[in-house]
C-alpha cells in the first residue's frame, strides 16, 4: 500500500480536473489524477474552438510560475507535472476513512495492448476488419476496433474496443513489438453455465457466447445445474427464472450458498420480470429480457467477464478528494420527439463541432456528410433537452447559447461569410462577461440571424435538406428550408455519476448532479470531498475553471488542517553541476526502436556519419530509451562517456519531459543541456519514400539538435523569492473569503476596507433566492476574519500608492482612518473591490415614491418582513440601462433577484398582481426552476424589445402608469401598479485609480480585465495580481465566493514556496550590448522588463517572464537573449538544417 502525506485525488481529467490537479501540484502536494476514459482532456479534447476567441487556449492553464515542473506543450497532447500521477482508464471504487486520511481503491480497465510496448505504428488498425462508429467524431465517422482514442494525444497508444472486437487476432499477428495480447486464453478459461429448460434458448446462447470466445456449458433444469455446478468452476451463470421443477429463484438460493460471490444473471420473459427483480434482491447481479437483444446480452456478459480481469485494488492514501467527473450531453436519439434527429443532416452541436474540426470527418471543410455538398444554410435549435419539464430537465444548460453562437460564427468564417446561420431560441442567455457584445457582434457584423421562436416540426425536403416549421414570438407561423439542423443538446449528468457518487459516499441533487452547499459550492455532502467543474452543476469553461480553483482551495485547506504538508520543494538548480566553465562534450544516444521499425534504417551508419562530421561526438545505441531499462542503460552510457550535453534520438520529444527532469537529477546535468529529437516519425514516411531521404531527414534533425546544444547557455536557473504576505483590497464577501483562505494557510493578510465595517454589497441583499438570510454569512465571515490572528483589517482605509519592493514584491501605501499613512509589504495582491447597483434616470425614477430600484425593494422586503401591508400590484422592468450600448453587458443577478422578490411578494400576498417586463430571462443553470415556479404562481412575464421599451408616466398623486405592448396578447396594454421596481444592474466600483497604481488593465465597462477570460479568469496579466467578485464581473454570492477562493488559490501558489525557481527559458540582457532603447520594455506582454533608474540598466522580472522572446526579436543589438533560443543556437540550427539538403 502506498502512503503519502499532503496528497489529493482528483477524479476526472477534463478541464476542471486538470485545473484542480495543477493547482494542488503547484502548491507541491502530491496529486493523483484519474479518468475513466483512456485519455485526458474530457469533452475539450473534442472541441477545437472556444468562445470568445473562437480558437483554442487550453495551454494557458499551464503553470506560469515554476513552469518547468510541468510539460510545456499543447494540453491536447497530454499533461505532465512532476507532482501529478496521471492515471487514465482508472475508476475509484471505494472511498473509506476520514477527511484528511482517506483510503481510496482504484480499479483500472483491462488493457489488451501493453502501453509500454505499443509504439503507435498503426499496423494493427490497418489489418483490423471491424468498423464501428467513432465516438470521438460524434459517430460521424468509422473507426476500427483497435484504434487511437484521440488522434493528437501523446503518447498515443492504441486501444482495443473489446466490445466490438471479434478476436480474429489479426492485430496480434502484425504487431511488431508483441504489444497485443487479446487474452483469448483467458476468455476460453472463463466458463459460463447456461440454465434454461428450452433447448432453442440454450443453443442460441451457446452459439453467441462461443463466438465471443467463452466456454459454455448447458443445463436443462435447476437440478442439473446444481449437479454441474458442484464439479465445475464457473465464472458466470445465466439462469432462467421459470423452469419446471426447481425454478430459477430456488436454484439461485442454492448457488448463493455454495458460491456467494459468483455473478448470476437471471433470464426472464416480460411476464416474469417481477420475479427477476425479486431475484436481484436475493443476490442476482442483473437480469436479461427475452427475447434477447444479442448486443445487450453480450455486453452484459462481457462486463461480467471484464470484472474478473480488471486490475483491481490499487489502494492509495489521500487527504482530500476532488470530484471533477464532468457532465455529458443529452442524446436526442433517446428523447421523445427527437427533433428530427433520426433524419440525415440533423446533428448535435458536438457533432457539428467535429465537422468544423481540422481533425474531424470533413478535415475542417464545411460540407454536408450526407452528400458532400458545401453547407450554405444552417439552423441552430436551442434548448434541446434543457428547460424541458417533460424530460425532467427543469434547468438551463448554461452553455448552449454561446456554444451555438460560436458555431454559427465558425460556420460563417469557414465559408467565407457565405453560409447563412440562424439560431432558433427562446431566451438568448448572454449572462456572462462580454457575452452580450459577442452576441451583438455576431448579429450585426457577421449577420447571424437570431429568431425567437419554437420550432415544432422538421420535415425532410428534397435532396436531404430540411424544412423547419416554427412559430415566432408573436404567434406567427413560418417555414424555411435549411441544409443542416444543429441541435443544442443540453447537459446531463455523466453516465456513471450515480455509481461514482455511491462509491464516494456523496449525495446528488434531484437533477442528478452533485449536491453542493448552497453558498460554498465546492463542498459536497461529505466532508473532505470537493466538487469541481460541471460535476457541481451546469457551468461553462470559465466558471468550471473557477469552480475547480475553489475546489482545490478547499482540498488544500483541509489537507493542511489535518497535518498534510506540501512536499519539500527540491531545488533542482542547486544540485546541478556548473558546467559553464567546461568545454562542450557531446554525446548522441540513438534509440534502436526506429531501426527495428524500418529495416532500411541503419543506426550504425548514422553514428559513423555523425562522428565523421564532428569526431568529438560520442554516439551510442540504446534499446528502447523510454523504458526503465533503457533509461538505466542511457545513464550508464552518459556516465561512461563523461559528456556534459546529450542529444537523444528517439520518438516524440514531449514524451521525454519527465524523463529529462529525472535524468537531470540523476546526472546533475541541467535539462537545458539535453535534447530529444524525433528520429522515429520520419521513419514512417510511406513506403514510396526514398530511404536516403529519410536518413537525410533524421541526420539533419540530429545535427540541428547538436548545433543547438553546443551553443546552449549552461548556467543554472535562478531561484527567486517574494515576501510571503498578501494584500486584499475590499472587505466584502469576496475579500473576506479570499483573506480567510490565505490566512488559513498560515500567511499574513492585510485587508483594506473603505467603509466603517466589512460586509460590502451583500448587506443590501437580505436573502438568497433559496431563502437563506445573508446576515448569517456576513456575521460569520466578519467574526472569522476578526478572530484570525493572521489578518489585519484596515477599515476606512484606501490605497494611495504601490511600488515594486525588494525586487519581486510590492510596497503599498495606504491612507488610514486617522488620516495617517501606513506602508504594507506584500508579495501578492487580490482585488475584491466589489460593485454597486447602477443608478438610473429612466422610467421616471426619482419622480415618484412608487418607482424604486431592485435594492430599494430588497431593503423594503428585508426590513418590513410582513409588518407593512404588502403592495397589491407590482411591476418590474428588467435590463434598465443594461444590455445596450453604454452598459452593454448582462448583470447576471437581476433576473433571479426579480424572481426572488416577486415570489416573496406573491407569498406575502397571494392576491398580488405581479408583472415582469423582460428582454431575455437569464435564469441559467438550476435557477430555471424559479422561473418555472414563478410562471406557475401566476406571475406575468411581458417581453419587450430595446426598440420598444415600456412607456412609464406618473399621473397626478404619484400613481405609476405603464403602457406597453404584450407580444403574446398581440395588443397594447396599460398597467397602473402600486409599485414599479427597476432592475438597474450592477456596476463595478471605480478601479481605474487602482489600475494605475498596480498596473493592471480595466475593461471598457470598468471591470477588471483578466489575463484570459476562460483559462486564467482570476489572473491579471501582471504577475502577482488577482481579482475576484464584482470587481471582475457581476455574479451571485455563491459565485463570488467560489471566485474569491479561486483567486486565493492562485495567490497561494506563489506564497506557498520559500523559493520559486525561474523558468529555464527566460530572457536575459547582455548589458554590454544594450543601448537602453527600451523597445523590449514596450514589446514585453507581461510587463516583466523595466529600466532601473539608479543602475541604468534594463532589469528582468524572471518570475513574470515567460520566455516568449518578443524582446529578443525587437532588440536592434541582439542584447536581449532568450535562453535556449539565442541567435547562435537558432543560426546553428539553420546551418545544420541546410547542410544536407
Amino acid at each position: 500500500m502506498e502512503t503519502k502525506t499532503g496528497s489529493a485525488l482528483v477524479i476526472g481529467a477534463g478541464i476542471s480536473g486538470i485545473r484542480s490537479a495543477l493547482d494542488l501540484a503547484e502548491m507541491n502536494y502530491r496529486v493523483f489524477l484519474i479518468d475513466k476514459s483512456p485519455h485526458i482532456g474530457g469533452i475539450l479534447s473534442q472541441l477545437d474552438y472556444q468562445f470568445p476567441t473562437d480558437h483554442c487556449g487550453m495551454c494557458k492553464m499551464l503553470p506560469t510560475i515554476g513552469r518547468d515542473a510541468s510539460s510545456q506543450f499543447c494540453l491536447r497532447k497530454g499533461l505532465f507535472h512532476e507532482n501529478i500521477e496521471v492515471l487514465p482508464g482508472t475508476e475509484m471504487t471505494a472511498l473509506e476513512g476520514e477527511p484528511g486520511n482517506f483510503r481510496v481503491t482504484l480499479d483500472s480497465a483491462p488493457s489488451f495492448i501493453d502501453a509500454q510496448k505499443c509504439i503507435g505504428c498503426g499496423r494493427c488498425s490497418a489489418v483490423c476488419p471491424v468498423e464501428v462508429p467513432d465516438q470521438f467524431n460524434g459517430g460521424l465517422t468509422k473507426r476500427k476496433a483497435v484504434y487511437l482514442p484521440v488522434p493528437h494525444n501523446i503518447p498515443n497508444r492504441f486501444m482495443i474496443d473489446i466490445a466490438a472486437c471479434t478476436r480474429c487476432a489479426e492485430c496480434e499477428k502484425v504487431c511488431p513489438t508483441g504489444a497485443i495480447d487479446l487474452r483469448t486464453e483467458a476468455r476460453r478459461a472463463f466458463r459460463i453455465l447456461v440454465v434454461d429448460d428450452e433447448l432453442v434458448v440454450r443453443d442460441s446462447l451457446k452459439e453467441w457466447l462461443v463466438v465471443e470466445g467463452f466456454s459454455v456449458d448447458m443445463a436443462a433444469s435447476g437440478a442439473e445445474a446444481i449437479d454441474l455446478f458442484s464439479s465445475n468452476d464457473y465464472g458466470l451463470v445465466l439462469l432462467d427464472v421459470k423452469m419446471p421443477g426447481m425454478d430459477g429463484v430456488e436454484a439461485l438460493q442454492i448457488i448463493r450458498e455454495i458460491k456467494p460471490d459468483l455473478p448470476v444473471l437471471m433470464m426472464t420473459a416480460y411476464a416474469t420480470v417481477e420475479t427477476a427483480v425479486q431475484a436481484m434482491k436475493i443476490g442476482a447481479d442483473d437480469y436479461l429480457m427475452k427475447p434477447f437483444d444479442i448486443e445487450a446480452l453480450v455486453a452484459k456478459v462481457v462486463q461480467q467477464y471484464e470484472r474478473t480481469v480488471t486490475v483491481k485494488g490499487r489502494v492509495i492514501e489521500v487527504g482530500a478528494v476532488i470530484m471533477a467527473a464532468g457532465s455529458d450531453f443529452c442524446d436526442p436519439a433517446r428523447t421523445p420527439g427527437a427533433f428530427g434527429y433520426n433524419l440525415p443532416n440533423v446533428v448535435t452541436g458536438l457533432q457539428f463541432e467535429r465537422l468544423l474540426s481540422g481533425a474531424g470527418p470533413g478535415a475542417g471543410k464545411l460540407i454536408r456528410p450526407s452528400d458532400g455538398r458545401p453547407l450554405r444554410k444552417i439552423a441552430f435549435l436551442q434548448c434541446i433537452g434543457s428547460r424541458d419539464l417533460k424530460q425532467k430537465a427543469d434547468y438551463c444548460s448554461s452553455v448552449c447559447c454561446m456554444f451555438s453562437i460560436k458555431e454559427a460564427l465558425l460556420a460563417k468564417a469557414k465559408s467565407g461569410g457565405e453560409a447563412d446561420a440562424a439560431i432558433f431560441y427562446m431566451d438568448m442567455r448572454t449572462f456572462g462577461k462580454d457575452f452580450q457584445r459577442y452576441r451583438d457582434l455576431a448579429e450585426k457584423e457577421s449577420g447571424v440571424r437570431f429568431i425567437r421562436s419554437r420550432v415544432h416540426t422538421i420535415d425532410p425536403d428534397a435532396d436531404g435538406s430540411l424544412r423547419l416549421h416554427y412559430v415566432d414570438g408573436e404567434g406567427g407561423q413560418h417555414e424555411e428550408v435549411f441544409d443542416m439542423v444543429v441541435l443544442a443538446a443540453g447537459q446531463r449528468p455523466n453516465r456513471g455519476t450515480r455509481d461514482l457518487a455511491q462509491s464516494a459516499g456523496i449525495e446528488l441533487n434531484p437533477a442528478g448532479f452533485c449536491l453542493t452547499d448552497e453558498l460554498f459550492q465546492n463542498r459536497s455532502s461529505r466532508e473532505g470531498v470537493f466538487a469541481g467543474g460541471s460535476f457541481a452543476g451546469l457551468r461553462d469553461i470559465s466558471e468550471s475553471v473557477i469552480q475547480a480553483g475553489s475546489a482545490s482551495l478547499g482540498a488544500s485547506k483541509l489537507i493542511r488542517s489535518k497535518g498534510g504538508a506540501p512536499r519539500a520543494s527540491e531545488r533542482t538548480g542547486a544540485a546541478l553541476q556548473d558546467v559553464s566553465k567546461e568545454l562542450p562534450s557531446l554525446a548522441v544516444a540513438l534509440c534502436a526502436c526506429a531501426s527495428s521499425l524500418r529495416g532500411g534504417l541503419d543506426l550504425e551508419s548514422f553514428g559513423k556519419s555523425l562522428t565523421l562530421w564532428d569526431p568529438s561526438i560520442r554516439v551510442f545505441q540504446i534499446e528502447r530509451v523510454c523504458t526503465l531499462s533503457g533509461r538505466k542503460s542511457l545513464l550508464e552510457n552518459m556516465r561512461e562517456s563523461g559528456c556534459n550535453m546529450i542529444s537523444i534520438g528517439a520518438c516524440m520529444p514531449c514524451l521525454y519531459g519527465k524523463m529529462l527532469v529525472e535524468l537531470a537529477k540523476e546526472t546533475g546535468l541541467s535539462a537545458g543541456l539535453m535534447d530529444v529529437v524525433d528520429i522515429y516519425t520520419p521513419a514512417f514516411r510511406g513506403d514510396r519514400t526514398d530511404p536516403r531521404q529519410i536518413s537525410g531527414r533524421i541526420e539533419s534533425a540530429l545535427k540541428m539538435s547538436i548545433g543547438r546544444l553546443k551553443s546552449a547557455d549552461p548556467g543554472p536557473t535562478r531561484s527567486l523569492s517574494i515576501i510571503r504576505k498578501a494584500l486584499v483590497i475590499g472587505g466584502g464577501i469576496s475579500g473576506m473569503t479570499a483573506a480567510l483562505a490565505i490566512a488559513d494557510h498560515g500567511f499574513h493578510v492585510d485587508m483594506i476596507e473603505k467603509d466603517v465595517d466589512p460586509g460590502g454589497l451583500v448587506r443590501s441583499l437580505y436573502r438568497t433566492i433559496e431563502g437563506t438570510e445573508t446576515s448569517g454569512l456576513i456575521e460569520k465571515l466578519i467574526s472569522d476574519v476578526r478572530a484570525n490572528t493572521n489578518i489585519s483589517v484596515h477599515t476606512e482605509a484606501e490605497v494611495v500608492d504601490s511600488k515594486p519592493y525588494e525586487g519581486l514584491s510590492f510596497l503599498t501605501t495606504i491612507k488610514t482612518k486617522d488620516g495617517g499613512e501606513k506602508r504594507l509589504d506584500h508579495g501578492v495582491t487580490i482585488l475584491a473591490t466589489g460593485g454597486k447597483e447602477a443608478t438610473t434616470r429612466e422610467y421616471c425614477y426619482g419622480m415618484s415614491e412608487s418607482v424604486i430600484t431592485l435594492h430599494e425593494l430588497e431593503a423594503h422586503l428585508g426590513k418590513s418582513a410582513g409588518a407593512a401591508e404588502p403592495p397589491g400590484s407590482v411591476a418590474m422592468i428588467q435590463c434598465v440601462g443594461s444590455r445596450e450600448e453604454g452598459r452593454n453587458y448582462c448583470s447576471r443577478v437581476c433576473c433571479s433577484s426579480a424572481l426572488k422578490n416577486a415570489l416573496r411578494l406573491k407569498k406575502e400576498n397571494p392576491k398580488a398582481d405581479l408583472f415582469i417586463f423582460y428582454r431575455d430571462i437569464m435564469t441559467y443553470g438550476f435557477l430555471e426552476a424559479y422561473y418555472t415556479k414563478a410562471r406557475q404562481e401566476g406571475i406575468i412575464f411581458i417581453r419587450y424589445s430595446p426598440e420598444a421599451k415600456p412607456d412609464v408616466s406618473i399621473a397626478d398623486g404619484g400613481k405609476v402608469r405603464i403602457s406597453a405592448r404584450d407580444p403574446i396578447l398581440g395588443r397594447d396594454i396599460v398597467l397602473e401598479p402600486d409599485l414599479l421596481v427597476l432592475s438597474t444592474g450592477v456596476v463595478p466600483n471605480d478601479l481605474n485609480g487602482l489600475g494605475q497604481v498596480f498596473g493592471f488593465e480595466v475593461n471598457e465597462d470598468g471591470f477588471f480585465r483578466e489575463a484570459e477570460y476562460k483559462w486564467q479568469p482570476v489572473n491579471s496579466k501582471k504577475r502577482g495580481i488577482f481579482a475576484c467578485g464584482l470587481a471582475h464581473s457581476p455574479r451571485s454570492i455563491s459565485e463570488a465566493i467560489a471566485m474569491a477562493q479561486a483567486a486565493a488559490q492562485r495567490a497561494l501558489v506563489m506564497l506557498n514556496r520559500e523559493e520559486i525557481e525561474a523558468g529555464a527559458v527566460v530572457a536575459r540582457v547582455r548589458r554590454s550590448l544594450c543601448s537602453l532603447c527600451e523597445r523590449c520594455i514596450a514589446a514585453c506582454p507581461y510587463g516583466a522588463r523595466s529600466r532601473s533608474e539608479e543602475k541604468d540598466i534594463i532589469e528582468i522580472d524572471e518570475l513574470a517572464c515567460q520566455g516568449c522572446g518578443a524582446c529578443a526579436a525587437v532588440c536592434p543589438n541582439s542584447a536581449s537573449v532568450v535562453r535556449g533560443f539565442s541567435d547562435r543556437q537558432v543560426m546553428a540550427m539553420v546551418d545544420a538544417a541546410l547542410e544536407l539538403t
Partner: protein, 140 residues
C-alpha cells in the same frame, strides 16, 4: 531544374503549429521530405535575420507558422510576427529574393491536415519558382 526537392525551413511555434506537425506525423500524412522544422517558443521570437540567413544559405523557402490570432500562448506574439513578416516581405526583393519564398500561416493544434497541406502546397509553389540560386552560387 523543374524536378528538384525544395529545401524549406519552417519556424513553428511550440504550442500550435508544432502540435499540428506532430499530429500530421502521427497521422502518417505523407509530407515532402525536405522540410526542416525549427521549433521556437513563439513566432514572435522569430527574428527576421534568421529568415534572411536561411535564404542566404540556400533555403528555397521559409515558412513561419504559429497560433491563430487570439490564440497565442504569449498573448500577442503571433500578431507581432505577422507585422514583422509583412515588412520583411517588402524588403526581401532588395536582397534578391522573391517575396513568395517567405510565407506566414496560422495552424492550430488540431489542424494536422492543414499543416501537411500547407507544406505540400508551398513545395509546389516553390518548385514553380525554381531553385534559390544562392544554393549553387558562392556568396561572399
Amino acid at each position: 531544374m523543374a524536378d528538384y526537392e525544395p529545401a524549406i525551413i519552417a519556424f513553428v511555434c511550440n504550442w500550435c503549429t508544432y502540435t499540428a506537425a506532430d499530429l500530421a506525423g502521427t497521422s502518417r500524412l505523407v509530407q515532402p521530405p525536405n522540410v526542416r522544422m525549427i521549433r521556437m517558443m513563439c513566432t514572435g521570437m522569430v527574428d527576421p535575420k534568421y529568415i534572411i540567413k536561411a535564404l542566404l544559405e540556400g533555403a528555397d523557402a521559409v515558412l513561419v507558422s504559429g497560433c491563430h490570432p487570439g490564440d497565442c500562448h504569449y498573448i500577442n506574439g503571433n500578431l507581432k510576427a505577422r507585422r514583422r513578416m509583412k515588412l520583411l516581405k517588402e524588403i526581401l526583393p532588395k536582397f534578391g529574393f522573391d517575396e513568395r519564398r517567405l510565407k506566414m500561416t496560422w495552424i492550430g493544434a488540431s489542424e494536422g491536415i492543414d499543416f501537411a497541406e500547407t507544406v505540400r502546397q508551398m513545395t509546389a509553389e516553390v518548385k514553380a519558382l525554381g531553385q534559390n540560386d544562392l544554393r549553387t552560387r558562392m556568396v561572399l
